[in-house]
Structure formats: C-alpha cells, structure tokens
C-alpha cells in the first residue's frame, strides 16, 4: 500500500477523536461530494457551478422515502446514487454542448431552477424550513443512530468511493477525459465523441454527489434548503480548489480544510469566511494546485536539502 492510502486510513481512525464525530462524518461526506466534482473540474476541465443540484435532489428524494416509507438505509443510498446520476444526466445533456462562461452559467441557472422547485414545493420539501425528520434506520441489527457507528459507515463508503474514483481516473476513461480537458478538438479528431464523454463525466460525478447528499441528510436528520442551493455548489468548488483540483486527493484535503475551518473556527470567530477568502486568493494567485501542490513543493525543497547535505 502506498503512503497516501496509509495516511488516509490513519486520518479516518484519528479524526473522530480530534473533532466531534458529526464534524468528522461531515468531512468525509463532503469529500465524496468533492470527488464527484473533481472528475468534472480537475480531470475533464468543466467548471460546474451546479453540483448541489445532484446533491440536493438525491437528499430530498431519498430523505422523503426514508421518512414516509421507512425504506432500508442501503436502498436509500442506492436511490440517492441513482437520482444523483439521473439529475446529472439531465443537466449534463443540456450543458455539454456549451463551453466556457456559457457552460458555467447554464449549470448555475439549472441549479437555480432546481432550487426554486424545492423552495416552492413546500408540501414535500418544507420549503425554507427544510425537510426534517429524516431517520437513520438500523440495518441487520446495527444501530446507526450511534454517531460513531454512523461515522464508521460513512468512512467505509468514503474509502470505497475514493477507490472507485482512483480506478476510474487510472483507466482509459480517465485518460480520455484529461485529453478532452487538454485539447477537445484533437480528442474528437482521434476518435472520441467529446460531448458523450463529458456527459459520462457528469453522470459519474452526479452519482458521487447523490451518495454524499443522502449521507448528509441522514447525518443531520434534515434536508435544509441550502443543500440544493448555489452556496453548496460554491462550497464544494471552493473546497476542491483549495485542496487542489489537479490531483485525486485534492478534494479530500480541501474538504478537511473547509469543514474543519467552518465548524471549528466559526465558533471562535464570526468572520471566519474571511480566512477562507484569503486562502482562496492565495490559491488562485500563487498555488494553482492548492494544498496538494504546496505539500509537494515543500517536499521537493526538503528533499533537495537532504540530498545536498554532504555524506560523511
């Protein structure tokens, strides 16, 4: 096993001791959300400003079924993945032919559309008040209402998601998506149906977002209206960029930084988003590769310092 995986396993074990289990759980949920976005942003070069469409839709649908029909937790997760993928297929279908600013604005506009449906449809979604009462049903005698048990479930699903994403980006599909990011015209000329592959990236990203959405609803027992709003779309984008969109682990680190800052520092200092803004400016101006790049730069410095030391 390589180093990042070992570090992650250690982080999974230690995190609930360091911070409250609910925050630790939220970090990994947000990381799953970020993994889905990064397939679009980092690998395919598509800046989607509407990821909460898939997150929120899945949370509402699965949350509603959990609440009204008491469905099995795993079925709810499966439905969430399906709803995430389906809503992403719809949004992707409308967006993949556009590029640049038009693409970004269209993902945003469709996100707003979904937001207003949730806002208006109060009988189901609760509108501004959110949809409370989402249960965390026990499964095979395991009681997920215990925060640490639920944390364990989310951790396992996060590690599984990361593994699946790792396989995807190391497969030909990962290469093709990166080729589209690098040069869509040539990618088309060598034989790839570029809009189709972009759509596929959307659907996969949407599936990850959907999983995260359902886990989020079950964590807090409520689907807040913000879960489908542009602030959530922006948050996952922020987190991914701060962590580093150029690498597989970027969104994971970004999620850790983002959630930890927002949950821990916000209780000490009400103006905490200022910190986030500063971090974002630093990333955009000096560190396009985010925390991951900072880490590798420090590593390279340290490495060259070590190797330049005379051997005695």
């Amino acid at each position: 096993m390589n180093r990042p995986i070992l570090l992650l396993l250690a982080a999974v074990l230690v995190l609930p001791i360091v911070v409250r289990p609910a925050i630790a759980t939220e970090i990994w949920i947000f990381a799953i959300f970020g993994l889905g976005l990064n397939l679009l942003l980092g690998y395919t070069g598509l800046l989607s400003f509407g990821q909460s469409t898939f997150f929120g839709s899945a949370a509402y649908v699965a949350g509603f079924l959990l609440k009204q029909y008491g469905i099995n937790a795993f079925l709810a997760l499966g439905i969430g993945v399906g709803v995430g993928a389906a809503s992403a297929a719809l949004v992707g279908y409308l967006c993949v032919q556009r590029s640049g600013l038009y693409f970004i604005m269209l993902t945003f506009a469709l996100n707003q559309l979904f937001y207003f449906i949730a806002y208006q449809w109060t009988s189901v979604t609760g509108g501004e008040d959110g949809m409370p009462g989402v249960p965390r049903p026990a499964l095979a005698g395991i009681d997920f209402t215990n925060p640490l048990v639920y944390y364990a479930l989310v951790s396992v699903l996060f590690l599984a998601s990361l593994w699946i994403m790792k396989r995807i980006v190391e497969s030909p599909l990962g290469k093709i998506l990166q080729a589209i990011r690098e040069n869509p015209v040539r990618a088309e000329a060598v034989g790839y149906d570029v809009p189709r592959f972009k759509l596929l990236a959307f659907v996969i990203g949407g599936a990850f977002s959907g999983l995260a959405g359902v886990l989020y609803a079950m964590l807090f027992g409520i689907v807040p209206l913000e879960a489908i709003g542009f602030v959530f779309s922006g948050n996952v984008l922020f987190a991914t960029l701060i962590g580093g969109s150029g690498s597989l682990y970027g969104p994971v680190i970004g999620s850790f930084v983002f959630i930890w800052l927002s949950e821990s520092v916000s209780t000490l200092w009400a103006r905490w988003p200022l910190l986030l803004g500063v971090a974002f400016v630093i990333v955009v101006l000096f560190l396009r590769g985010g925390v991951v790049e900072a880490w590798s730069r420090v590593g390279a410095k340290f490495g060259s310092w070590r190797s330049s030391k005379p051997k005695s």
Binding site: E188, A189, V190, G191
Partner: protein, 249 residues
Amino acid sequence: MAILETQELTKAFGALTAVNGVSLGVEAGTLHSIIGPNGAGKTTLFNLLTGTFPPTSGRILLDGRDITGTPAHRVAHLGLARSYQRTSVFPAFSLLENVWVAAFATGRSWRGLAWRKTERYAEVTARARQALADVGLGGKADAPAREISHGEQRQLELAIALAAAPRVLLLDEPAAGLSPEETRKMVALVRSLKGRYTIVLIEHKMDIIMSVSDRISVMHFGSLIAEGTPAEIQKNPEVRRAYLGGVAA
C-alpha cells in the same frame, strides 16, 4: 481504384465558397499532394474530409462507401487520420500518453473502459510506442509534450495521427515553421511513410512537393485547376500563372 474520392465537393461560408466543386481521387498506396496559394481552400478540404464540418454539397467516398456528413470522431474509426498545420497535441501529457489516447481510440475494443488500468492494455501501448519510434521520438516517451522543441512537437503531431493505424493519412503542412535542418528530417520521415500508408499531403514548400509526390492536385480560389505528376505540374502554364507566379518562371 481510388481509396478516397470526392465528387463535386463544395463548402460555402456565407458568400465565400472556400471549396468549389472539387472532384479528387486518391489512389491507394500513393502520396498525393495538394498545393495552392494561401486561402486556396486546402485546409478546408481536409476539414471536410475528416468531418470537422459537413459539406454544402457533394460527396466523399472512402473505399467506395459514402461517408459524407459523418462526424469527426466516427471518421477516425473509419481509418482516416489527420495532422494539423498548427500543432495540436495534449500539452500536459507525456509523449507516450499523447499517442496512447490516439491508439486506444481506434483499438480493437474498449472493454474495461472505466475500470481497467491503462498499463494493462499491452497491445495499445505497443502500438503507441511504435508510432513514437516511427517518427524518431522513441527515446523521449516520458517527456511532457509542452517541454519539447517545436520541431519535436511537429513529429509528435504526426505520431498522434500514425497511432490511430489509419489507412489514409492526411498531413497538413507537416513542415510548418521548421528550420531547414528540421525540414530535411521531416521530409525524410514523410518519405519513410510512403508505401505504408496512403498519404494526402498539403505543403507550401515546392521542393518538398516535387521530390516526394506521386501525384499533385493544384487548388486555386477553392477550385481544382490541374492534376498530374510532378513533372506535368511543373510544365503546366496555368499552374505557373496561378501559383508559381514569377518565382519559378
């Protein structure tokens, strides 16, 4: 028999007819050059052949089969590969990755597309390495494409087209922007590909054209004005007037 054929191919952009009733036949195994002054419609003709955009009228036949209107990504699978006049590679990729994606596209099967590791496609990797070796970049497989010289990027440009294992190779000014020394290398390279592929070549440098071509078609203001062997073209008075001007007289 002609492997690639166009019948009365026309492309109009508004009032401008960039390609005007071009009927062209490329014999299998030959090197067929297309020459003409800037703006004669040569690159537009390539864009039509590779499905970048559909023609206004006329037909394109590959092996006698009508492929008019087939989108670019499908044309690649039919065995038509092109290189670009302005270098168009994947800058962040290594040279091997550049040709690997092209080789995979036209590979035998896409099984394991989203799951199998790229290293496990031995046959695709072998073809990719072969394409790099064919253009003389075999020793630089792991270098990033954005860090190699312009001359090497032109070679890579060609390797990406070769990696698709095409039957017809469309080369759009492979020697564009090269130094005399690099141009000599590129000409030798194109010559080495002759016979292995059917090649359609767009080029400006007359010495290259005359030395490597089997047949030459001359375009002027979107129309074909002459076709023949290099010797015939050199003697053709109309070509001299339109293209060579006073220079070769």
